[in-house]
């Protein structure tokens, strides 16, 4: 394919001059500074114009609350493309960015306009749009999408301060993950695909108890209070974004164990919007009908409480969607491959690819349940979307064989 492919470099000092291993060569670079919306300590936010006929990145948005498995998700996504995701080499050790051969993931916390002190002074949370610079977010995502490098601010989660910016070059796939990828309409419109990780209150609470009480010694009361304090802004600014998502991964308590509140066994839904270009929802057995399936039976035996799948059409915020649901967890490889073999439209390149990906990262959180399964599937879907876009731009149909 004669496609000019963008390359991401992690060094601030050699932007746009490297030749990538995919044959990308910078023709002309214009630096300029735009939309300097005041980090408190720096004037980050430059965009580097690149005029070569670069292959423009596919832009993906991933929205979720902090600490809800976004980075695991991103590691699963980059793994689908074959490479490992790492922080930029030689840059700020507190950078929130993850870079692999194909994919660059940036954290939208980097677009905080107020640092920790600033938020405290103004009495706003990080969830509040007033603590975030959507103009800069828009300018920079737009620039990347047009194949231009950017100088993106860094919000330092350790110090709570805004650090000097880092240079981000346009990758093949650019992922913006964080609290507000679909909040601003202009940013939203730049997304080729969007995902919302929706952790139910019950599960969020169970997880927080597990982490903050068992591991950090917080009291139950203080955990409840911290959740309650966050809830109004979360409901006002984060939660409404899910209506715009092309895919929602919803994490709920299991229904296989009566009155379970441990949050260990999970029921996970993959809500897939219908009619999204280049995205064919995964289905179980019979596309468009309603199915429930307990694969544990004569051919497959599972330990308590078993595994249950459901699939069917539904509506979600007025959109037609197809919902795939998994309750329970995998104990053994044969359970995973058995389930994979009965799902259709997975966009795998060979039989068992989902299972292989899940096993490769068996140590990641959620690898034995629907969160890992659906994150892996979304990874494959994004790869498929990317390949369709590339093929379309090259004027050839996608060559990858779909299983």
């Amino acid at each position: 394919m004669a496609i000019c492919s963008a390359h991401t470099t992690t060094s601030l000092h050699s932007p746009c001059t490297t030749v990538s291993n995919t044959g990308f060569r910078q023709k002309r670079v214009i630096f300029f500074t735009s939309n300097r919306r005041s980090g408190r300590r720096h004037g980050g936010g430059r965009t580097f114009h690149v005029s070569c006929s670069v292959d423009k990145p596919v832009v993906i948005g991933l929205a979720a609350d902090s600490g809800c498995g976004k980075s695991t998700f991103m590691r699963r996504l980059t793994s689908v493309f074959g490479g490992a995701a790492e922080p930029p080499k030689g840059g700020n050790p507190d950078s929130n960015t993850l870079i692999s051969d194909t994919t660059t993931v940036i954290c939208l916390d980097d677009y905080h306009s107020l640092d920790r002190t600033g938020r405290k002074e103004k009495g706003v949370t990080a969830l509040d749009p007033r603590a975030n610079n959507f103009d800069l977010m828009y300018e920079q995502v737009k620039a990347i999408k047009e194949g231009q490098a950017i100088e993106k601010p860094i919000y330092n989660h350790v110090t709570g301060l805004l650090d000097p910016p880092e240079l981000i070059q346009p990758p093949k796939i650019f992922v913006i993950e964080g609290l507000h990828p679909m909040f601003d309409e202009r940013v939203r419109d730049l997304l080729d695909f969007s995902i919302y990780l929706d952790i139910s209150d019950e599960v969020k609470f169970a997880w927080k108890i597990q982490r903050d009480m068992a591991e950090r010694g917080h009291s139950l009361e203080s955990i409840k209070a911290s959740i309650e304090a966050r809830k109004p802004d979360f409901d006002a600014y984060i939660d409404p974004q899910k209506q715009y998502a092309d895919a929602v991964i919803e994490v709920l308590p299991t229904q296989l164990i009566p009155d379970d509140n441990e949050g260990k066994v999970l029921r996970v839904k993959l809500i897939q919007k219908e009619g999204v270009e280049k995205f064919n929802p995964v289905y179980l057995f019979d596309e468009g009908s309603s199915i429930s399936w307990v694969p544990c039976g004569r051919k497959l035996t599972c330990s308590y409480p078993g595994i249950k799948f459901a699939y069917g059409p539904d509506t979600y915020f007025g959109h037609e969607v197809s919902v795939l649901e998994m309750d329970g967890q995998f104990d053994r490889l044969d359970e995973l491959i058995y389930v994979e073999s009965h799902l259709s439209n997975l966009s795998t390149k060979f039989y068992g690819e989902v299972t292989q990906q899940m096993l490769k990262h068996a140590d990641f959180p959620g690898s034995n349940n629907g969160t890992g399964l659906f994150q892996t599937i979304i990874g494959l879907k994004i790869r498929d979307l990317y390949e369709q876009i590339i093929a379309e731009r090259a004027g050839t149909p996608a060559e990858a064989a779909k299983v």
Copy 2:
């Protein structure tokens, strides 16, 4: 195939001398009279020994209460083999027997040892084993199974009397249908396959109301009383036979319409015993797992109240079974073929054979619901069983391609 094939003639006067169109020739016929267990007006029950290496009939038992769709079932069964079933030509016009090219169906009421008056005198119902001659039933089914013709009594449902016997020659498939095909252990052991038609009390009541009240002007009270009067003997002598059946068709009220008691929309279960030689249960999507399926969705639209299938393993009287369930009814051809295309192990010979059979008899009761569907499927299963037995006897594998 060099198989000597039995032929059924309907004439009392030319037994065992015809040459069938399958090449069967009678070699020797010995008449004898055995086990004359007193019909009140005749000494029927002779067995005709035929010593030729006749292809011995496959014997099927079908148990059900009177008037529960047995004759419809039998017409569906014989239709699967291509021929129409008719009463014996030139014989007793009140004969209960149905004969087609391949199949002879006899009604076990013919083994009543007491006629209507006799039962009244002794205060027993037709359901009571004391009103039935199981020794003769056993002798004659055994004789047929060994390829011998029989002189079977006739119970005249019109007069309530026992009429002179009719000659029954061994057919390819011999079906005994009635109240007690699996009651007597000796008879039961002769069956190659057995079916129980289990109509739930609610549906039986709704049907009886429909027929006896709407069509015959009976009062609700008298209908209730007649059902109640029959129930003790039914529960004691008929119902327990279902534990022996290889397949049970259970007819229940729909669950798609809340509190429905019209008995028009039905939920029907096909309970298939596992481990029965030459009988591979039908399944939906994934053999041995538990599935529920509402085919009405994006690809197939159905009118209210829709159609719902369920499939899964279960136990039934301590036996491992696979249960296929259909709730609702078909309105259109596309619904029927869509459902057929998703069922496996149907033992059809071509794509759409179930649908074709159902359409061919669209006027039969139950052709738009699970009773017709499952009766048709059982018909195909019996054909398959028959062909396997024939192939085994001939030392060749069954040639029929299974879809």
